[in-house]
Structure formats: C-alpha cells, structure tokens
C-alpha cells in the first residue's frame, strides 16, 4: 500500500515518525513535492478566502497526491496535552479535506486527543494500525520505534542546531527541491561563528518557516546575508517552558511553544534580533505573536519584528523589511561592541 503525506502543516514536525510507523507496517510512503505556485493556487481555488494560507497550501498538496498513492494520511490532532487546545484547522483537517478535495484518495486518519488520556491514544493507534495488520503487538512496536525516530529527529535539531529541513536531509538524504533547471545550489553558508556575525531567531510555525514558497525563502535570505539563524526547534524543552512561563504563565494553544516559548527565550537569550512570521488571518498567532511583541518592549529585550505573509507574490515588501531589520540589528550590535 502506498500512503501519501502532504508536505504541509504538521509534516515538518512529525514526518520521520509517520514515515517510520507506516514503513514498519510494510507500507510505502510518498510525500508531495515542495510547494510551488501551481500547488498553492490549486489549493486557493478550492477553499473559502478566509481560510489561512497554510491550510490553502495543504489542500494544494493533497490535490497533488491524487493518482500517486492509494490513500492519504491526514491526522486530526485535537490536543497534545490536557487542557491545551489546537487550532480548528487541525481538529477538522480530515473532514475539511474530504469536503474540498472530493477526488482525494481514501483518508487514513487518527484522532489524537490527550484530554481523553493515553489509553485512548493507544486505542487510536491500534485502529490506525488495523489497516495494515491484525497483530496488535506489531502495531505497538511500530509506534514505539516511530516515537524513537521522532526523538532522534528532535535531538538532531536541539543538539546540532539543525533546522527541520536540514535534519530531514540528514535522516533521509537530500530531497531535491524543484529548482529551475541548472540553477546552482544555494550559496555556501558560513557555518563558523565568525565574530561580529549577527544572530537572528526566526519564530513561528514550522509550516510557515520552512515552506520556501510561503516564507519567500526568508531563512535562506538571512543566511546568504551572513546571519546565523536560530529557530524554535533548536531549543531544548526547558528553554521553551521557561519562555512560555515568562510570557503567558501557562500555554493554551498546542503549538504555542514555537511562537511564545521560543519568543520568550530568544528575546532574552542567544540572539541580537527576533523575527516573528505569521500568516495573515491566523487566529491563535494574532494572540500569541502579540504576546511576544509586547514582551519585546521591555528593556534589554532583543529587537523584534513581526512579518505577515499572505498570497502576495512580490517579495519586495518582505525584502525591504528584512534589509531594514538586519541593518538595524547590525548597527545596534556594532554600537554595543564599541561601547563595551
């Protein structure tokens, strides 16, 4: 059986785990290609205008998998921790997909809701595994070893400072991006911490940060301009928790750590500036990123800039703001160093 996984939304968080689980159960996994204008516009053409950009991209990815797999894996992640809630687009992802992409192959799903406890989670995993085998212990083994894969993935990012795409490349080899024919690879990146090199953290959901099309290659742009880029995945759980604790006390949203947790940490540690990336119309982010922005006004906090992404295809607006932010961070850093 061939299982399609859309390269969008939670792909960047859980791909190694999902892939491993299905392969352990004898299935084959195919991933949709990197987001392109064609994928995004096909998604946009299906969903109502008010839906957020990442969800539109997701539908485009599902559509690109039609005819390439026997079924598509679309989990419904409701809650990962008791009393911590997820955005409605994740809750209803399988249903939403069924509604807007009727030609979608059969959907394999799993309901993850930790409000119902761990027992229920195992029941859900069993239910998912039953599509492949009747052997319970085989499913449990696959799930346990998939979890190990997930931890390995996280470790690569935390311990070696890799971004998710870099960690995926390390684990599964290079997944070529649809570059223009003959386009050269990205310029060699300075890895050494050259003195005076500015450090900037980019915070936000992985499906915004690492989707080159949605983010207009923002991280690459920074790296090419000799900036050492830090991302939320590079932080250990303690740093994230203390960031959340400082900014909001207790988290309410499931994917709050990559915004509020990372923001809380980076505003006070490791970097000269923080860039928050949000998709226009994201409800949770309008609250979460604002918490970070408010905190950035406190004395001693790193410089902060919020960038909002939409369907605009021109990059000029983003580049202007990035150039200005980098200029500012560099001038401030130089000033600090000459004073010291």
């Amino acid at each position: 059986m061939k299982i399609g996984i859309p390269r969008a939304l939670l792909y960047y968080q859980y791909y190694p785990m999902w892939k491993h689980f299905f392969e352990e159960l004898g299935a084959e996994v195919v991933v949709s290609p990197h987001t392109t204008r064609v994928i995004l516009s096909s998604g946009i053409s299906r969903v109502v205008a008010d839906t957020c950009l990442p969800a539109k991209a997701y539908m485009g990815h599902v559509m690109s998998l039609v005819g390439k797999c026997d079924c598509v894996f679309i989990p419904a992640i409701r809650s990962l921790k008791a009393k911590v809630f997820n955005c409605s687009k994740f809750l209803g992802l399988p249903d939403m997909t069924r509604a807007v992409v009727p030609e979608c192959p059969p959907i394999l799903s799993i309901d993850v809701d930790m409000n119902k406890g761990e027992k229920e989670l195992w029941r859900e995993i069993d239910r998912l595994g039953r599509h492949f085998t009747r052997n319970h212990s085989k499913v449990r083994q696959a799930a346990m070893s998939a979890w190990q894969k997930h931890l390995e993935y996280c470790r690569l990012m935390v311990e070696e400072g890799l971004t998710p795409p870099q960690a995926l490349e390390r684990m599964f080899g290079l997944e070529a991006e649809p570059e223009g024919k003959g386009a050269s690879k990205e310029k060699a990146l300075p890895t050494a911490d050259a003195s005076g090199q500015a450090h900037i953290a980019v915070i936000g959901h992985p499906y915004i940060l690492y989707d080159h099309h949605v983010s207009h290659r923002l991280i690459n742009w920074l790296q090419q301009h000799n900036i050492r880029v830090h991302t939320p995945e590079m932080l250990a759980a303690e740093a994230i928790d203390s960031g959340i604790g400082r900014l909001v006390g207790q988290s309410y949203w499931t994917y709050e750590y990559e915004v509020v947790g990372a923001g809380g940490h980076y505003l006070e540690h490791d970097v000269d500036g923080v860039i928050g990336l949000v998709a226009f119309g994201c409800g949770p982010d309008s609250l979460m990123m604002d918490m970070v922005r408010r905190h950035s006004a406190l004395p001693g906090a790193a410089a902060f800039m919020n960038l909002t992404l939409e369907e605009h295809t021109a990059e000029a607006g983003i580049v202007t703001r990035l150039e200005a932010f980098v200029d500012m961070v560099r001038r401030k850093k130089r000033r600090k160093e000459t004073c010291a």
């Binding site: 570059e179 226009f280 605009h312 200029d327 401030k332």
Partner: protein
C-alpha cells in the same frame, strides 16, 4: 565641484537629491512616478543636472525606495539601501537628537524609533496600504480638488466629523455618508486626517514609545491637516524638516558618501547621459519548474542589463554573464 547623488523611487513619487562634499543639499527634484519608474529617474536626473554647476563631478550614487534595484541598475548605483535606513540617516543628519521619525509615503507608512543615534525599532504597515498618500490623493480626486486644496481646506474645520479609518474602503463609505447628510466638506476632510492619524498610531506605532524630538517626513508631511492632527493627538510639537519630501533621497546620498569614504573605489555611476538612453522592460513566465516565476528584464539596445523575480538565481546569472 564634487557631489553625491541620492535617488528615491517610490511607488507614487520619484525624488533625486544632490549633496556636496559637506553633505549640504545643492539640488533636488520631486516628480510623480506615474507608473514609469525608469523614465522618471531619467527625467529627475536631467532636472537635477540643470541645477548643478557645469564642472560637477559625481563621486557616488545611492538608490532607495521600492524601485531601488531597478533604479540602481539604470544609474549604476554604488549603494542600494532600504527606505528605513535611508530615512533614519537623513533625519539624524538634520536633527541629530531625533528620537522618533514618522514617515508617510505613497504606499508605505513607517515609524522609526531612534535612541542615541541608532535605530532601535521600526514599524511598517502590513499587507495593506491603508491610510497612505495614495489614499489621500484618491479622496482629493474624488472631491475634485487638488491635494494642496485638501491640505488648506482641512485646516478650516470647526467641528470635525468622526470617520472610520481602520480600512480605506470603510473610510470612503463613511465619508460619503457624512457628506450626504450635509456635513461641511472641511469637517469631513479634517475628520479623515484625524482618522488616518489615529489608525497610524494604533497600528504602525502600536507599542512603540514615541519620544520627542519627533520628525515627520515623506510626501504626506505636506498635508497641513495631517500635521495638525498628529500635533493634537501626540500633544507635542512635530518637526517638519525643510526638505521632508526628499529625505529618502538625501539619506541615500549620505549613505553613498559614507560608502565611498570607506572604500577608495571610483563610483559606478553611468553619468548623466543615461537620461537619453532608451530602456526597454519586458517580462516573461519562466517554465523551468512549477514555480512559474515572473521574470522582469531590463534591456537597452537589445542587450539585457538585468533580470529580477526568480526564486532561484537562474536568470540573475544569465544577466550577469
């Protein structure tokens, strides 16, 4: 005589400024872009040339504004800088102790926070261009008056009406409703100024600490109604620098001077002769991958000078070679 040029090609207006070696403004020109950035850069350069002494020698050129890369390629810029940095540098040049810069242009509005001579924070309008110069122009046009009349008339307001300034679409329908129930045009105009200022302070300037001295620059600083509304809302004086409409160009010239002082290279400026060259722009959709990038190219005499717009560097490389 030696001079440095700064060119600011904005979405609505194009500005050219020339500074002498002491960074004194010796010539400037301000003209509407009217959707033709290349022609306007050529015209602006020709105009400025007329006001410069015959023996002028350009030692450095900087470009800024949303068409800075296009303009930079045409004139041969030594430095291409974003508008925030250019405006901050120019404001600091005239008012060294400035702490806040308000800038409203045709499509962009910005706030720049400066402490001890360094930019420490800035804000810029997000995805939409509500409340910028082009909206004021549009309203003046709709009311069949020049933007200058708009400015003067709004000062005659006695009881300004309240206009929703959150979004220009709402603002316009609000203005029309008020006009249809008989409010005076002066009161509607000043009401609009207040709405835009409120919107600016609540959005772009939200969470920023606005400390005096405050400098207001950009084309919209011509508008007396907006200036008055800012003074009232902030309850403090606001400095309008003498050349507020060309501050971006002045900043680019200052930065070009700084750049050329750091490096002893000679300027890349192609000379004032470029005003007479025919440039041709065209665009095509690249089919090399599913991204279908829109590539724009600039050519003269059948020779491609530059290409932009690709997500990869495929076309940029072709143009360099």
């Amino acid at each position: 005589m030696e001079a440095y040029l700064g060119i600011d090609v904005g979405s609505v207006t194009t500005k050219v400024a020339a500074l002498d070696v002491n960074d004194e403004l010796i010539a400037d020109f301000y003209l509407p872009t009217q959707g033709q950035p290349i022609v306007k850069v050529q015209q602006g350069l020709a105009e400025v040339r007329r006001h410069l002494p015959a023996d002028v020698e350009i030692r450095g050129v900087g470009t800024t504004g949303s068409a800075r890369y296009l303009a930079g390629t045409i004139v041969g810029a030594d430095l291409i800088k974003n508008e925030i940095t250019s405006h901050a540098v120019a404001a600091l040049h005239y008012i060294p102790d400035v702490q806040t810069v308000l800038e409203i242009g045709g499509q962009d509005s910005k706030i720049i926070i400066i402490r001890d001579g360094v930019v420490t924070d800035f804000g810029m309008n997000t995805v939409c261009a509500a409340g910028t110069g082009s909206f004021l122009d549009h309203q003046a046009l709709r009311l069949n008056m020049g933007i200058e009349d708009f400015s003067h008339k709004s000062l005659d307001s006695e009881t300004p009406v309240r206009i929703a300034g959150r979004c220009t679409v709402f603002a316009e329908s609000d203005m029309i409703h008020k006009q249809q129930v008989g409010h005076r045009i002066e009161d509607i105009l000043y009401g609009l100024c207040q709405a835009l200022v409120r919107n600016y302070l609540n959005n772009i300037a939200s969470g920023k600490e606005i400390r005096p001295p405050i400098v207001f620059q950009g084309g919209v600083a011509f508008n007396q109604g907006i200036v008055k509304a800012f003074r009232e809302e902030l309850k403090t004086d606001i400095i309008i620098p003498p050349h507020h409409e060309v501050m971006g160009a002045i900043g680019a010239a200052l930065l070009a001077h700084e750049e050329m002082a750091d490096h002893s290279d000679s300027t890349k400026f192609r000379g004032f002769g470029i005003s007479d060259i025919q440039y041709r722009t065209s665009s095509f959709e690249c089919k090399a991958c599913p991204n279908l990038c829109e590539i724009a190219q600039l050519a003269t005499n059948g020779k491609v000078l530059a290409r932009w717009g690709g997500r990869c560097d495929m076309w940029e490389r072709t143009s360099a070679g």
